[in-house]
Assembly symmetry: C2
Homo-oligomer: 77 residues x 2
């Protein structure tokens, strides 16, 4: 089983990294980029018999800082 | 228009960051996690009139290091 965990900053949290990227991009002449926010992406391979709860726990307790971040899980096969 | 760019290491490239996460996770007792690879995730807001080519160029020339990384773009509305 495979799962993908996507961790992003909560919408209310300022993203200085994304703002820096956006400024660079605008200086490069791509004026149509209104906003960029960066997140983290984890591709996870699971052994047979792994439960969805386990991945949920991994995402919630290890990969995400619940104060400023939110996560979502995408399941594959 | 919105687009999401996901940048991951090429499959042949070693991912020390992912390996470190996996080791930590195993020490926490989640034995069913076989492999973790980390990537970057960019949520991009575009102004009206932005072209897909522009996002393609942004992903290819700015967000990705073509020597070790690959990207894919997911379009929303």
């Amino acid at each position: 089983m495979k799962a993908t965990v996507i961790v992003t900053l909560k919408p209310t949290v300022l993203d200085p990294q994304g703002m820096t990227i956006q400024r660079s991009v605008q200086q490069l002449g791509m004026a149509n980029v209104a906003d960029i926010r960066q997140g983290k992406y984890f591709d996870i391979d699971l052994k047979d018999g792994a439960s969805k709860d386990e991945v949920e726990r991994l995402a919630k307790e290890v990969l995400t800082n619940p104060v400023i971040e939110q996560y979502r899980i995408v399941w594959e096969s």
